[in-house]
Symmetry: C2
Subunit: 220 residues, 2 copies
């Protein structure tokens, strides 16, 4: 298979009518999930917002569960683009890690999602409900987590972080800061949320730098 064929298969090919409407539905659905959660993602309200009939919309997914997973996948796709791929333009190391962190805090707003990150919302909604949706949430979170840990590893490889830094622990703590930001920003409407988050991030990073005195506690 040559390059042109691959292009026409994966990128250029015009979307069929069905695929196009499906994409539009997912766009609206992602907004709903962001603002009101996955529970509020009802077929009826979604049909009304998209101008489709209930059954017409339903046909694109086959079940509400599949719809929820599709929305989840679309959210993860955007995270991958807006957060991870966007950070790749920065040079590897702390600079990229910082970009990754900043992108994470703001990606939902950069996607015009009025409510926060839908994947985080899904994590809270489905953490106690076994099933395919929960499995999908876990899959996406594991991917994000390991992506974050990998970026931390690069900070060790560039010589910026001490070799004994634990990437998993670091990712854990970064995730915590992002969560605290979401609470402060979205629930408490705290204007200082971003500032607080970056302050915490800087403290976390500083503790792992090789230039830091070894008496300071490391992140591992």
């Amino acid at each position: 298979m040559n390059a042109i064929q691959r292009l026409s298969d994966h990128a250029i090919r015009r979307l069929s009518k069905g695929e196009e409407t499906r994409a539009q539905i997912l766009d609206v659905a992602l907004n709903v999930a962001s603002e009101s959660g996955f529970e509020a993602l009802t077929i009826g309200s979604l049909a009304e917002r998209t101008g489709l009939s209930k059954s017409g919309l339903f046909a694109h997914f086959g079940s509400k569960e599949d719809l929820q997973i599709a929305v989840l996948d679309e959210g993860a796709r955007r995270v991958s683009e807006r957060v991870f791929k966007a950070a790749l333009s920065e040079q590897r190391g702390v600079v990229r890690l910082r970009a990754l962190f900043g992108n994470w805090l703001g990606w939902a707003e950069s996607c015009q999602l009025k409510g926060g990150c839908p994947i985080m919302a899904a994590a809270f909604e489905f953490d106690d409900r076994p099933g395919p949706v929960r499995d999908a949430v876990v899959k996406h979170h594991a991917r994000m987590q390991s992506g974050m840990a990998r970026t931390v590893e690069l900070c060790i490889e560039t010589g910026e972080f001490r070799p004994d830094t634990d990437p998993q622990q670091f990712a854990f703590e970064i995730f915590g800061i992002a969560n605290a930001y979401y609470f402060s920003h979205r629930l408490m409407r705290d204007a200082d949320a971003a500032e607080r988050a970056f302050k915490a991030f800087d403290r976390l990073v500083t503790g792992s730098l090789v230039t830091a005195p070894s008496s300071a506690t490391s992140a591992n």
Copy 2:
């Protein structure tokens, strides 16, 4: 009003039948909210679980919104007891702060709530839905936050933390760690979640101790 009258008013007085059933309902409801969220807190399923009729149960609250707020208040009451009051038995300072943190991580399980902390769940569910329920969530979170910050202040007063420590920032970061713990523990089923959380907590505390070298980054 003398002490005995106060006692009989606030503590001893036998619960009327209605108050007793209401308490039982709230106990069941708190479990449902913990496991499946406040959205899943439906009158019908709640009536079935308590053995009451829908209308009989409904009469105790008057509206679903009032029910949700009542469940929220009950949850906050338990947090106050299990987390904050329980920590008061420890001496003020870092020891108490650590107890507070540990209580927070485990209080839901110590209350036999199979799903995580219902107040955290509520925070995510209502952060984008204006109304009385959201207001109640904000109120409770503000209270927990300031209680945490106050405990940090005591660490400064005992001379353990540097005077330039920012209690609000400290509370922000503690809250983040608790959130990361919830994700790791509940969603990812990570067995190391508690260990990770305490490691992060220790790193946070160490950075604010007066014994720490001043070159280490402080939490303010």
